[in-house]
Symmetry: C2
Subunit: 369 residues, 2 copies
């Protein structure tokens, strides 16, 4: 049958999803997870003020969103102490990564990332025909030197670095990142994915310098602010980069209630501080549960703990599956050497109690496979 052909690039792409959602697994299992500890969501939820703002905004859901996200964008700019035109708001970091890749990558463009880092970024790069070079993690951390070398070797246009890192949960202090930025090829742009940045001390975070045209940073309301379902992320950096988003972004893509909720969440820094404390306590609990079962938690700079299961990837997969069978949703790093680990999201004591209860049996079952 003759039919309208896709572009050759689109034809070459697989129909794929970077992550399977827990809902899909639940539908397959025929039951819901008792503890949802796999997606690095913030189970402590958003600010009650954000919830109230969203509730109030519901009645005006008939209105289109402000395509400029004016109020939210200004509030973020004030929060970061940058200019409003140095910030762009989008439907989560995923969307902003997609726009950025579209702006800089065409078939054959070289892009560098870490092997096992964010699959959605890779999905976008492949989707625009880019050529990915992946460098291994080193000591369970992303390896700035190796990233720089690979970028130099391949004349890369983009380097992706998440700091703090997902899926390992580690981070580099500002000195390491600043050195990396100083060594960038002038035609290479560093994407600093800071989705988890609120979980580390401010004084370890690289200073913001929007005069540098070689860095774009991205943050989100999905993690510390507890609003993953709202889809609100932002990018900031040199205004020339930020303005380029106006060439391609879907101006009316933001949910209006989410814009309003994110603004209220940002304005409630007291709640954020409380949530960070809750997360820190949960991190300790998860680490202790791991240790109590003979496993090794990797010190975490995020809202999850990556746990070295002490054997190979097959064993870690078995642990994950056995936890799943016991109602505990966790995920794990995809690539070696991180793939010997499972990754457990912070949550309230009730959920962690379920994890604590399930882990010994899950480990026993995984070992006896």
């Amino acid at each position: 049958m003759t039919k309208p052909p896709l572009t050759p690039l689109a034809e070459s792409l697989p129909a794929t999803v970077p992550f399977v959602g827990p809902e899909a697994t639940e539908r397959k299992m025929g039951k819901t997870f008792a503890a949802r500890l796999g997606a690095n969501e913030n189970l402590f939820g958003p600010s009650p003020k954000a919830l109230k703002a969203m509730e109030d905004a519901n009645a005006e859901i008939w209105k289109y969103p402000d395509p400029e996200s004016h109020d939210l964008r200004r509030a973020i700019a004030r929060h970061l102490q940058v200019a409003a035109d140095e910030v762009v708001v989008g439907e989560g970091i995923d969307t902003l990564l997609g726009y950025l890749v579209r702006l800089y990558v065409e078939p054959g463009t070289s892009v560098v990332t870490s092997d096992g880092a964010y699959p959605t970024f890779n999905y976008h790069v492949t989707g625009y025909g880019g050529t990915l070079t992946k460098v291994p993690y080193k000591d369970d951390m992303e390896d700035p030197e190796a990233l720089l070398k690979a970028a130099s070797d391949t004349n890369a246009r983009l380097i992706y670095l998440s700091n703090p890192d997902n899926p390992m949960g580690t981070h580099h202090d500002y000195g390491v990142i600043d050195d990396m930025i100083a060594d960038l090829n002038p035609e290479c742009l560093l994407i600093l994915d800071e989705a988890y940045v609120e979980f580390i001390d401010d004084d370890t975070v690289p200073e913001i310098d929007t005069t540098n045209p070689n860095v774009i940073r991205m943050r989100t309301f999905s993690k510390a602010y507890g609003m993953a379902g709202a889809r609100v992320g932002y990018a900031f950096g040199h205004r020339d980069i930020v303005q380029a988003f106006e060439k391609v972004r879907n101006h009316f893509g933001m949910n209006r209630t989410a814009q309003i909720g994110a603004l209220a969440a940002l304005q409630d820094q007291k709640h954020l501080a409380r949530s960070l404390k809750d997360v820190a306590a949960a991190r300790d609990t998860i680490s202790k549960i791991a240790q109590g079962n003979g496993l090794t938690p990797i010190p975490s700079s995020t809202n999850f703990v990556t746990i070295n299961c002490g054997a190979d990837a097959d064993f870690a997969i078995a642990v994950l599956e056995e936890l799943g069978a016991r109602g505990i949703f966790v995920r794990k790093p995809f690539a070696a050497p991180g793939d010997r680990c499972i990754r457990v999201t912070c949550g309230p004591p009730d959920e962690l109690d379920l994890f604590r209860a399930a882990l010994p049996d899950a480990l026993k079952a995984a070992k006896s496979r």
Copy 2:
């Protein structure tokens, strides 16, 4: 200063927004509009059941959305009597149009639309390097024959047709559309934008035929369902086309609360019927106001009335501006010959009373310019 260069295509694009939002105008004026009658929103709002569902869902905003929009997609499929894999849900029709253009358009690909039709579609086509051919409206309607001829002349991959049409508010019965579909080149895909389809009688709508690989149809919760701020649209058609969206779409782009609200809205067809009656009454009111002021309303198949101001585009712009100065937000068609008109969205009696009160003075002021 050396900096990371954009792709040549991205470099060539203007930083632009297809529509300026009313909020931007309000910020410029330093006051809000008294009547928001310009964006073809549904001022009667969504189903109370949808509002309740969204309110209930707020508490789980910390969860990521289901990337498959499983429940909503199945409900839409049932509603349309098609299979679930013949439907894709996205962040409004705008986003889905962007994906579709990305799948089918590369630099130089020919695309046909009507001059003055949806600017956001054109934005996407230009954004992927496509070459637009625009054909004029005929008798204030899109012109299927001219669209087909232009597509044939330019070997077009895509034709865009909105039916009912925005910005003129007219529509073609199924016979005209079916004839157009029958005459499509086998390698040409017709995008049938049915954002306003709920406002016309079911028996004038072309039958759904998902076996035809030359048609993709798009609908939304922004108009009749009154949820423009939620950003929920869907496309349906041959499963090969629908599955191709999986190659490029942002799987986690949907707001979770919006997914849940749209499902509840779809399930409340009684509310939809009431809303359609309210809209029909408002259409009559707007038409009478226009006639009472010596203007000619174009019979509408949508939730807005396009009003022929009886002179040239400059006069229509003057009327629009004078209405704006009096607190009434309306829009107008951009291209000739529709640009002699203004476009007024349906709304409750209070808002229409404000329009009724402002129009005579606005016309007088426009005439005396």
